[in-house]
């Protein structure tokens, strides 16, 4: 563990994609930063598929989540360019859109209804027949009913983003302390090893573990099981999100031939078990959509915990803790951590430096919930 020679300006608790990005954007503004995490990049970021898909993800009642997602999607190209420049790591960032497909007539009726809603929101979606879907993605099952193409969606490999951020932070001279922060103190954070890291300002970006430091923060773990399949590549050229008898599944192809297949949504606390039923349901639905993928290697089964909030919007901004260090929250990103990383990192860096915070982030005030 690197000893901190000096007191940094900011401590970021949590080294997932959000915490590392907050540290990187803050370091880029000339502040000194330390990140505290026992296993940087090992939480929800490690599990996540990395879809940057606010358009195909939209559902009724979630317009504020959509608006935030679109604002962050618009920041991704420059975020990518600067991060690849600072680190030399290719993020496998792709912009071929999401193909949303319906397995049967009921699923198609739902997609059609949702498309009408998407158009009222001014989103671009294109209705395709089953055969048009298969011209775009020949490996899809012949039986699929039809689909929608959301051309503006993108995706990225979150594990490569983590690697890039760690390299960029290293080059910027920011410390990553491999320890667990157990409490806030008046001047920083106390570590599990009993040490203390002092700093005038603390950013809590510890995902579903954030309430350990900030009791009262309305964040809960939402378990997700996700699979990684490996094969020769060329199976899919874009993200495929399918509905199979009303049950959603997605397939995300990587440049190296891997396909990420997700994900369950389970309100089971910190239950880290991969279950037979979870894997079965994911493979069952994926097989209906892309029959040939059963020939691929089932290379990985992973559990992650999304940091869920009551309204599915994140918590970004100052969080008043009497008698303790100046604290900002950057957590609660639920299903959208990777998508919302650029806008979160920009907003937190702006809070820390006194710059103007993007207007759209005001919906994410951590104090918005009544006690």
């Amino acid at each position: 563990m690197p000893e901190l020679m000096t007191t940094p300006d900011v401590i970021v608790v949590g080294g997932g994609i959000v915490g590392l990005s907050v540290a990187w954007r803050t370091a880029r503004r000339g502040l000194s930063v330390a990140v505290v995490d026992p296993d940087p990049g090992g939480g929800a970021t490690h599990a996540s598929a990395g879809m940057l898909a606010p358009v195909s993800e939209v559902t009724y009642t979630e317009e504020p989540v959509l608006r935030l997602g679109l604002a962050s999607l618009a920041l991704w190209p420059s975020f990518r360019d600067e991060l690849e420049g600072d680190s030399g790591v290719d993020l496998d960032y792709r912009t071929d859109g999401t193909l949303k497909i319906a397995y049967d007539a009921d699923d198609m009726a739902y997609l059609d209804e949702l498309a009408a809603f998407e158009r009222t929101l001014g989103l671009r979606v294109e209705r395709l027949t089953g055969r048009e879907c298969r011209r775009l993605e020949p490996m899809l099952a012949p039986s699929i009913r039809g689909g929608m193409l959301a051309e503006d969606d993108a995706w990225v490999n979150p594990r490569l983003v983590t690697r890039a951020l760690r390299t960029a932070l290293d080059r910027a001279g920011a410390a990553v302390v491999a320890d667990r922060a157990v409490a806030l103190t008046a001047r920083g954070v106390r570590l599990a090893s009993d040490g203390v890291v002092a700093a005038p300002r603390v950013v809590v970006a510890a995902g579903p573990w954030s309430p350990e430091l900030l009791p009262g923060l309305p964040v809960r773990p939402v378990k997700g099981q996700i699979l990684r399949l490996r094969g020769p590549g060329g199976f899919l050229t874009r993200c495929v999100r399918g509905l199979v008898h009303g049950s959603p599944a997605y397939l995300v192809p990587r440049g190296d031939g891997e396909i990420t297949l997700g994900a369950t949504m389970e309100e089971l606390g910190f239950d880290g078990r991969v279950t037979a039923g979870g894997v079965y349901e994911l493979l069952r639905d994926a097989h209906e959509l892309v029959p040939g993928l059963t020939e691929m290697e089932l290379a990985e089964t992973t559990v992650g915990f999304r940091p869920g909030t009551p309204d599915n919007l994140p918590l970004i901004g100052p969080f008043d803790v009497p008698g303790e260090a100046d604290v900002l929250a950057a957590t609660g990103h639920h299903r959208n951590g990777v998508l919302l990383t650029p806008i979160t990192a920009e907003a937190v860096a702006a809070f820390l430096t006194g710059e103007a915070v993007p207007e759209v982030v005001k919906s994410c005030d951590p104090g918005r919930f009544p006690e």
Binding site: T61, P218, V219, R220, L268, G308, P310, D311
Partner: protein, 253 residues
């Protein structure tokens, strides 16, 4: 309105709308819908829940003082359902259970034989058993005889929103029942819920019709009104259907 208390399993409720929690996009949207529905009893799937997690759907129900009715959704055998009910009793300290044993995942129709088997075992074990069944008057009667506290016939398959496909069977179940009849599953919109009450059901249970609506809170309010309207119409007594018109203000009386 006249005093019209709904008694179920020895407990009194003033609301006759029982809610499910599945399908809501967020806990906040669910909370707003529950408030608008005026429900006092809400069912949760025990297999998809950890009762100890802070900030879960159970906390939402507790904060509103809504009684929790655990259900055995996702079970295919009597054995699984009995086990799930026992785990729920331990975790939630309630001996109420909405018994749900599914025959296949495509239709989600209830399996009558496994359901009856589980009901017998759970009644013997001291549970207050509320079984989800097809619209089968004979099975409803047998479950009442077996000691169930209510019967819960479907209007149509879960999540289908197809309304009440066989109103005649629902009426037959109501006529014969000595326990409350709760219309469960298939409700698509407010008129379906009103019809259930007009047919003589004691309460309505629904989830998707509200949680998957474009505006869940507004649909919840509509369902609340519909259940009240249907109940009032049932108590008031509808006029007989006639083939020809009858002037409402006759010249001669």
């Amino acid at each position: 309105m006249i005093d019209d208390v709904f008694v179920l399993g020895g407990e009194k409720f003033s609301s006759r709308l029982i809610m499910g929690t599945g399908g809501a996009p967020s806990l906040e949207v669910l909370d707003q819908a529950l408030e608008a529905s005026g429900t006092e009893l809400t069912t949760v799937a025990m297999r998809r829940l950890d009762p100890t997690t802070r900030g879960s759907v159970l906390d939402v129900l507790r904060a509103r003082g809504i009684k929790v009715l655990p259900n055995t959704a996702g079970c295919y055998t009597a054995g699984e359902a009995v086990l799930t009910a026992r785990l729920a009793r331990e975790a939630l300290e309630t001996d109420w259970v909405k018994l749900e044993v599914i025959a296949d995942e495509r239709t989600l129709l209830p399996d009558p034989i496994e359901t009856f088997d589980a009901a017998e075992r759970l009644v013997a074990d001291g549970f207050t058993v509320l079984p989800y069944i097809g619209d089968d008057p004979a099975l409803a009667r047998r479950l009442e005889q077996a000691g169930c506290a209510a019967v819960m016939p479907l209007g149509a398959p879960i999540g289908s929103g197809l309304g009440i496909r066989n109103p005649h069977n629902i009426e037959l179940i109501v006529e014969a029942a000595g326990v409350p009849v709760i219309l469960d599953a298939g409700i698509g919109t407010a008129s379906d819920a009103a019809l259930a009450m007009e047919l003589g059901c004691d309460a309505v249970l629904l989830a998707s019709a509200v949680t998957r609506a474009q505006r869940p809170d507004l649909m919840a309010a509509a369902m609340r009104s519909a259940v009240t309207a249907g109940r009032q119409a049932r108590l008031a007594g509808r006029i007989p259907r006639r083939r020809y018109a009858e002037a409402s203000s006759p010249a001669v009386s």
